[in-house]
Every structure is written in C-alpha cells, then in structure tokens.
Subunit: 331 residues, 2 copies
Amino acid sequence: MDIDSYLPRIHELLVQEVLSGWEPVDRVMLQPLQMPGKLIRPRLVLLSSGLFGEISERAIDVAIAIECIHTASLVHDDIVDGASLRRGVPTINHLFDSHTAVLAGDHLFATAFEILARCQLTEVLSEVTRAIKQMCAGEIAQDLNLFNTGLSEKDYMRNIFGKTASLFGAACRCGALVAGAQPQDVRQIGLFGEHLGYAFQIADDVMDFCGEPGTLGKPCGGDLRNGIITLPVIRALAVSEHRRELLLIIESNQLQADTINRVIEILKDCGAIEYAAACAINYCLGAIRLLEPFPQSPARNELVRLCSTLITLPGLEGKSSREVWNMLVEV
Amino acid sequence: MDIDSYLPRIHELLVQEVLSGWEPVDRVMLQPLQMPGKLIRPRLVLLSSGLFGEISERAIDVAIAIECIHTASLVHDDIVDGASLRRGVPTINHLFDSHTAVLAGDHLFATAFEILARCQLTEVLSEVTRAIKQMCAGEIAQDLNLFNTGLSEKDYMRNIFGKTASLFGAACRCGALVAGAQPQDVRQIGLFGEHLGYAFQIADDVMDFCGEPGTLGKPCGGDLRNGIITLPVIRALAVSEHRRELLLIIESNQLQADTINRVIEILKDCGAIEYAAACAINYCLGAIRLLEPFPQSPARNELVRLCSTLITLPGLEGKSSREVWNMLVEV
C-alpha cells in the first residue's frame, strides 16, 4: 500500500477546498497551506480505512477534513505563541495580525465541517466534533496550569490526551467507519491511534529538552519557558534530589539559556528524561500491539512503519537509537 | 406564538451542551454564557420554523447550535478588540488570557457542530458551515481594509453580508428546512433573514456615530477609531464638501474624542447619517415585504414585530422615530 502517493493529492484538494474566489481572503487562507506538513492524521485516516478495504473517495474527503482541522489548530496555536514562522513560511499572525489569524482558523474549521457534511456520515461527524472539544479542553487545561509545579502525571496524561491523542484516535476511527468496519474494530483502531498520539506527544515533550536547536527549529526548553509542565519535569519534581532547586527555577518564571541548561542537567541526572522516553516507547509498543488482532496486510505494515518513524527520541541509556527502533519494528 | 417563552430554555440547554464535567475547563466555558444575549438568531430559527408548522425539538436544537456559533464568534471578536466586558460580564481574554479565549471559541464551534451532527440534517449543516465561512471571510476582508478610505459601498455591503447577513439568512433557512418547507420557501425566508441582517448591521453602524455612549455601552465612533470604514463614512467621503478634511482625519489614525465629534458633524452636515439610516430602513422594509407571500400566521406577525424592534435608528429628517416605526409595522 503506497500511502505516500495519496499525500500530494490530499494537500492539493485541501487547498482547493479552502479557496473561495474572494481574492483578498484567499491570500490569507493560502498562507498556512504553502508548505504541506507531515500529514500524519490523513495518513492515519487512509491506512485505518485501508485495513478494512479499498481507500474510497470518501476516505480521502475525511482525510482532507481532518488535516484541515489540524491546520486550523496550528493557526490558532501560532497566535499566542507569537510564532512568526511555521514550516518555514510566515504565519498569518505575523504577516497580517492576530485577529485575522483567529478568523482564518475559524474559516478552516468551517471548511472541515463543510467537507464532512458532504460525506453524510453522522458518526464521523460526531467523532470529529468530540475530538475537537477534547483538543480545546486539553489545551485550556494546559493553559490554566502554566507554571503549576503541582501538576500530576495523571493531569499531564489527561491534557495530552486532549491535545494530541484524541484527534489521532478520531482519525483512525473515522477511517475505519468510512470503510464500514465493525464497531469492535473501530474501537480497537481508535485505541491504536490514541496510543500513538500519547507516544508522539510524550516524545515531542522529551525532545524539547534533548533536541539540537537546529533540528527542533526552536531553542531548547521552549515548553518550560512558556510555563508548560511536561512529563520529564513532573518526574524530576517527584524523584530528583535537586527538587527544591528545580521548583525555585520554575517558579521564578525567568528561564534564560543557562537556567534551561541547568534544568536539563537535573532532568538527565535523575533519569527523568529516560523515564519519559521509556514511557513514549511503551505507548508506541502498545500501539503496535493493538494492531495484532487485524489480519496481516499492507495497510497494517504501513501503520507499524508509521509508528517507528514518527517517534524521535534520544538513545536510551545503554541502547543505541537503532536498537530502540529495532525493538519497535520487530514487534 | 409566544416565542419569548422558548428563550430561557434555549439558553439553559446551551449551557448544558457546553458543560463537559471537567471542572477547570467548564469554569472557562461558562464565562460567556453567564448572561444570555438578545437571542436574535435562535428567534429567527424558531419563527422561521413556526411559519411552516409546529416548533419541533429539532428546531430547538438548531436554534441552540446557531446561538452557540454566534457566541463563539463573540468570544473570538473580544480577543482583538481587547474587550474586558461583554454583556456586563468579564470576557475570557480579560479573566484568563487570549489563548484560552481562542480555544474556548473553538470549543463552542465544535459544540455547535456536535449538536448539528445529532440532528442528522445534512442541508442544515451545509447552510451553517457556509455561513461561518462567509462570516470569517467578511471579517477578514474588513480587517484587510482597516483605514482604507477607498472602500466602496459595494465592498462594504459584501463585508457586512459575510459579517452579519449570512448567519441571519442561514438561521432562517435552517428553521424552514427543519420544518420541511419547500425549496422556494426556504430561499424566500433566507432572503428575509439576509435583508434583516443587512438592516441590523447598517443600523448598528449608524448608531456607532449617533448613540449615547451610555446606551451604546462604549464610546461613540468606536468603529472608525478601530479603522472600520462603515456606510456613513463611505457616503460622506463621496458627497461631503469636507471630503479632504475627513480623509486627513481618518488617515492620521489618531482619532481623539474631539476629532470624532468633528467627524460626526461632517457626517451629519452632508446627510450621510440620514442616507445610511434610510438604507437600513429600506432593507428592513424589504425584509418585511419578503414575508408577504407567506400566509398570515402568528409566526409571521412575530417576524414582522422582530424587524421593528430590532432596528434602532435616530429619527430621520422631518420624521419622528415613532413615525418611522409606524412605517415599519404598518406594512
């Protein structure tokens, strides 16, 4: 199953859906679509559909709608992050203003629902609306807990379920629904998507402390600088002997490059990075295990491959990253 | 038809739809729902439905969804206006922050679509998504034309169609669709809604220059201060002998209270206020005329009454406002 061959078309159709023919408005709307993203969510829709049959035109429509929703959420995210670039292209808030960016995001959400309305699948629509509500709720909860050093692992997991895992899960369930899968299969592939979403977000949060600034495209420790408390920090606050120092650093809310380096040192010393990376890998392995009940097929193979290529993590203590990937893909 | 008796229930059900049981998130989401608004759009849904039969539970659901969309757009509007109060209650951007307000608006949009998905009416869904896209496009176009003194009357009408008239029209069409109205009746009541929307927005734009600050709840000339060029200004730029002075004032982008007073003087002197007010009244009369083909009924009477109570305007030259209202309600 050559999923990659579908992706240029998905992007092209998305652009067509967004264009209205009202020139000044289209100029704004095309801005976030100049460079396609990784198209993870459309891949999940198409592959989850492919598990149960041919990839239909309807599956392609749903894939476009879900990428449209993801794009809307990125446009809105960039507003308060004050991001001036996304995928190397100026953001709407940078090129125009934040009000225009709010409206452009809303326009993208509406476009997604316009596509879904055309598909006439109530269940798909319910899945997507639920996922967006969870996405917003997760991000609101995260916002309300900025610099909250009392955030528990459970709170964190609930937030990232909303932020990331819910739309991954919905993408998979929608793909399966479009292909007419049985309810228990829809549930199972949804769980797969959610596990992959958890793994993806936790790994992303780990890499925020470990990635090279060049690769990340942003300075290290950006989440913590913005007050977002992620799993490595929660773990270090629970187990590090430098707990009080870490608390003071975070609560001072003045994280310069040198304090960030000290935080990273503390996280590494107490094994918090390793702990969070292992957690991401566990979710990724869990995702792959959830695919086992489905018969061997090109779509299933592609989903396994997607898991192994999506999760980037620093090499675990005593294991080369190659060994980690081998662990993953050998399942 | 006692439409007012439905309104408390609409508001109450909207609150229930928005609540998720996730306490910190609910605290944010309830903020814009503390005080019900005028509920114009739900009234339009219910009355347009009532023209063609009983008001069903489905019509109530659609009315809730459309108010939810309107609330979402207000939450997003308040962000860049930097409004700290709406309906006398602190806004989300004031009480929390603008990112939370962006997310809360998105959450409200998703809630609206969740309700519409449950209704299982594809046509209603298409109407609503189209209206939201037009709403966003209208506001984006307005944003791109701030302080643009070259804005034509045609551009202005196109922008306010998107901003206001499209959702008014969609509300009416959805109400009729839910009641199983014939396609030509759906079109006709949609035109009624759009005409009323134009009238409402033009009158609002006129009152921005004429209302008492106490009644407006904001200082006079706020639109122009924010760079929004409305019909009275477009007219004055076309006909006033003080055209060049007005141009200089607007392009200086420094509108203090005394310059706003001078602008109002110029607008009044050249009849621009009167011209725009007459335009609003014409649209309002046009709306009422569009109701004529429908048989006499309590719902039709209520729609006429809604037209006459919704449009607030200063007394036209030589006519008392009472005479204007009489003109309207006598049709």
